[in-house]
C-alpha cells in the first residue's frame, strides 16, 4: 500500500442486544483501495459490525466515519457511496434479473445498462430468470452485481463465497480483485482462510466482539512461524481442492 488513507474508521464500537454485548469496543481502520477482511467464528459480531457501518443497525456507542461522513449524522450520504451485499437478503418477488437491476438503478438514482451489470458477474444468460430460480452461487453473484450499480467507493460483502463451488469461488476472487483494482475499497467477511490469505490486503480477527489481531496475512503468518509454530504434518505439493480444479476446469458453472 502506497498511501494509507483511511476511508472507514471505527472507534470503540459497542453493540448490545438487550443484555448481550455482541460487539465490545471495536476499533479499526480500512484503507482506501484495499480489500479488508473481517474473520472470526460464528457469532463473533462480523455481520453486526458491518451492518452498523452500512447504517442498517443502530450502535450502542462508539464513533464511525465513512469517507468523511458520520453514521449518526449523514447516513444518507453514506448509503450513496457504498454497495452492500447482505449475508441474508431477498429481492422483489416476481421480477427477473434485468428488472431487479433496473429497480436498484432507480433506487440509487444511477444511470446504468442492466445487461452490462449482469455481464460483470457472468449472469447475462440468466437475464430473464427470476432470482428465486438461481442457484446459490448465481444468487451470490447477482447480489454482488447489485452492489456495483451506484459505482460505490466501498463495497461490503458478507460471506460472498459461502456455498460456492471452487471455480465460482476463484472466479469471484478475480471479480473482487478487479473491483478493487478499479479503485473500489472492499470489506469482506469469510470463513475460508485460504480465501482471506489470497484475497485480502489486511485482515482483522474478531472474537466475541473484540479484535484479537489485525495485520496483513503475510505478517500474521510470519509472526506465527517466528514464534516457533510448525504444522503437524508435512503438506503435500497439492491438496484436494487442486485436484478438484484440475479435474473440473476453471470456468463458471451455470
Amino acid at each position: 500500500m502506497e498511501t494509507k488513507k483511511a476511508i472507514i474508521s471505527v472507534k470503540d464500537l459497542v453493540k448490545k442486544y438487550d443484555d448481550f454485548v455482541a460487539v465490545q469496543g471495536l476499533s479499526f481502520e480500512v484503507y482506501e483501495h484495499e480489500i479488508f477482511g473481517l474473520l472470526g467464528p460464528n457469532g463473533a459480531g462480523k455481520t453486526t459490525t458491518l451492518e452498523i457501518i452500512e447504517t442498517l443497525r443502530a450502535k450502542t456507542s462508539g464513533e464511525i466515519i465513512v469517507d468523511g461522513f458520520s453514521v449518526d449524522k449523514q447516513p444518507q450520504d453514506i448509503k450513496q457511496i457504498i454497495g452492500v451485499q447482505l449475508q441474508a437478503a431477498g429481492y422483489y418477488p416476481n421480477l427477473n434479473l434485468i428488472e431487479l437491476i433496473e429497480l436498484f438503478a432507480g433506487l440509487y438514482g444511477a444511470n446504468i445498462k442492466p445487461m452490462e451489470m449482469l455481464e460483470k458477474v457472468n449472469l447475462q444468460d440468466k437475464a430473464k430468470a427470476k432470482y428465486k430460480a438461481l442457484s446459490g452461487g448465481q444468487k451470490q453473484r447477482f447480489s454482488i452485481a447489485t452492489t456495483l450499480i451506484n459505482q460505490p467507493k466501498i463495497i461490503f460483502l458478507d460471506e460472498p463465497t459461502t456455498g460456492l463451488d471452487p471455480q465460482a469461488r476463484r472466479n469471484l476472487w478475480d471479480l473482487i480483485t478487479e473491483i478493487r483494482d478499479a479503485g473500489t475499497t472492499v470489506v469482506i467477511t469469510t470463513h475460508y482462510m485460504d480465501e482471506a490469505e489470497q484475497l485480502c490486503d489486511r485482515v482483522a480477527f474478531v472474537e466475541r466482539g473484540q479484535i484479537i489481531a489485525l495485520d496483513t496475512p503475510d505478517n500474521l503468518i510470519d509472526k506465527l512461524v517466528n514464534s516457533g509454530f510448525e504444522r503437524k504434518k508435512e503438506v503435500k505439493k497439492a491438496n484436494l481442492e487442486d485436484v478438484f480444479i484440475n479435474l473440473t476446469g476453471q470456468e463458471w458453472r451455470e
Binding site: 447504517t55 416476481n94 433496473e102 438503478a105 432507480g106
Partner: protein, 358 residues
C-alpha cells in the same frame, strides 16, 4: 455528488411493484375474476323474481280487501308510511315498483283502485298488473271492486346490474387494498427485501408511495375493466357516460387508499403470511356481507342496519351507485366521501402506530 432524486426512486418502485402485481395470480383473481364472476352470475340471473315493492299512496284506504289479497300473494310487499315526495323519488328510480291508491267510491260500497307503474321497473310492474287483473276477476272480490285505473310514469330503468356492479367494484377495491397491501409489506419485510432497500438511499416514504401508486394503478385498471364489461355486455347504466366513469374512478382511488390503510395495519400485526388471510377476512367479510354488496342494506333487519351504516364500504358503494345510476356529481356525494375520509384518517392513525419496517 449528483443530487439524489426521490421521485426517480419512487417511480422505479412503483414500476417494479406494478410488474410484480400483474404477475401475481392471486391479485388478478381477487381484483378481476371474482367480481366478474359475480357480475356474470347476477347479470344472467337478472334479479331472480324476488318480490314487488308497492307503495301505498298516503291517504289511501288500507283496510280493504284489495290490499289484503295483494299481501296474501306473498310476492307483494306493501310499503306504507313514507311521504308523497319520497315515494315519487323511489318510483322514478324503480326502488318502488308501483304505487297503489284505494278509495271507496262516492255513494257506493265498491272500491276504486288507482295504480301507477313506473317505466323504471317494467317487469315487476307487469307482474303486478296481472296480479291485479286476477284479483279484479276474483269472484269474492268482484262486487267490491268497481274499477282499476292504471297509469305509468317514466323513470330510468334500474337493472340488477346497476345495483350489483358498484357493489362488486367496491368489494374488489376492498380486497385489493387490504389483502394486496398486507401481503406485500409483510413479505417484503420477512424476506428482507426492505432491508436491502434500506441499504440504498431510498426514503421510507418513497417505498410506501411507490407501492401505493402501483396498487392504485392496478385497482383502477381493474375497476375500468369491470365498468366497461358491465356497460357493454350487461347494460350497466352510465348516466353521463365518460364523465361518470371518471367520477367512479376518482371514488375508486379514494376507496382503495382508505382500504390500503387496513392492509398496512394487518402487515404490522400479522406474524406470518398465514395470519394474513384470517385477519384480512375479519375486515373484509363483514363488509362483503353487510355493506350492500349484494342486497340493499334496507333489506336487513333494523338492528343490523346501524352496523351496516358504520362500515366504510357501505359509503363507497352508496356513492358509486349514486354517481353511476343517478348521475350525481362528486359534490353531491360529499357526505359519503366525508365518511370515507374520516375512516381513512382513523385507519392511518392506527397504521402509523402498528406498521413495522423490520
Amino acid at each position: 455528488m449528483k443530487k439524489y432524486n426521490n421521485l426517480t426512486a419512487t417511480l422505479a418502485l412503483a414500476k417494479a411493484s406494478f410488474r410484480s402485481i400483474m404477475r401475481s395470480p392471486s391479485a388478478v383473481v381477487f381484483t378481476l375474476a371474482f367480481p366478474l364472476i359475480f357480475i356474470l352470475v347476477f347479470g344472467f340471473l337478472g334479479g331472480g323474481g324476488t318480490h314487488i315493492d308497492v307503495g301505498v299512496t298516503p291517504g289511501s284506504d288500507v283496510n280493504n280487501p284489495v290490499m289484503g289479497m295483494l299481501e296474501k300473494t306473498g310476492m307483494i310487499r306493501l310499503i306504507k308510511d313514507k311521504s308523497k315526495a319520497e315515494f315519487d323519488k323511489l318510483l322514478e328510480k324503480g326502488n318502488v315498483d308501483a304505487m297503489i291508491d284505494v278509495h271507496r267510491k262516492v255513494n257506493s260500497a265498491a272500491y276504486s283502485v288507482n295504480v301507477v307503474y313506473t317505466s323504471a321497473s317494467r317487469d315487476k310492474g307487469g307482474i303486478l298488473k296481472s296480479v291485479l287483473n286476477n284479483i279484479f276477476y276474483d269472484k269474492t272480490l268482484k262486487p267490491t271492486v268497481a274499477e282499476i285505473k292504471e297509469s305509468t310514469i317514466t323513470g330510468r330503468e334500474y337493472k340488477t346490474i346497476d345495483f350489483i356492479l358498484p357493489g362488486q367494484l367496491g368489494f374488489s377495491l376492498l380486497s385489493t387494498g387490504v389483502f394486496g397491501t398486507a401481503f406485500v409489506f409483510l413479505s417484503l419485510r420477512q424476506t428482507l427485501v426492505i432491508k436491502r432497500f434500506f441499504a440504498t438511499p431510498v426514503k421510507r416514504s418513497s417505498i410506501v408511495i411507490g407501492e401505493g401508486i402501483a396498487r392504485i394503478g392496478f385497482a383502477l385498471i381493474g375497476a375500468l375493466f369491470i365498468i366497461l364489461i358491465g356497460h357493454f355486455f350487461f347494460g350497466f347504466t352510465l348516466v353521463n357516460g365518460a364523465l361518470t366513469v371518471v367520477n367512479m374512478l376518482i371514488l375508486a382511488t379514494l376507496g382503495v387508499i382508505v382500504f390500503m390503510g387496513f392492509g398496512f395495519i394487518i402487515s404490522g400485526i400479522a406474524k406470518s403470511e398465514s395470519m394474513v388471510p384470517p385477519i384480512s377476512n375479519i375486515i373484509t367479510l363483514p363488509q362483503f356481507l353487510l355493506s350492500g354488496t349484494f342486497f340493499s342494506i334496507e333489506a336487513f333487519p333494523s338492528w343490523l342496519q346501524p352496523i351496516s351504516r358504520a362500515l366504510p364500504l357501505t359509503y363507497l358503494n352508496d356513492a358509486m351507485r349514486k354517481v353511476a345510476f343517478e348521475g350525481l356529481g362528486l359534490w353531491d356525494v360529499k357526505f359519503q366521501i366525508m365518511i370515507l375520509l374520516i375512516w381513512g384518517i382513523g385507519i392511518y392513525a392506527v397504521a402509523v402506530k402498528v406498521f413495522k419496517w423490520e
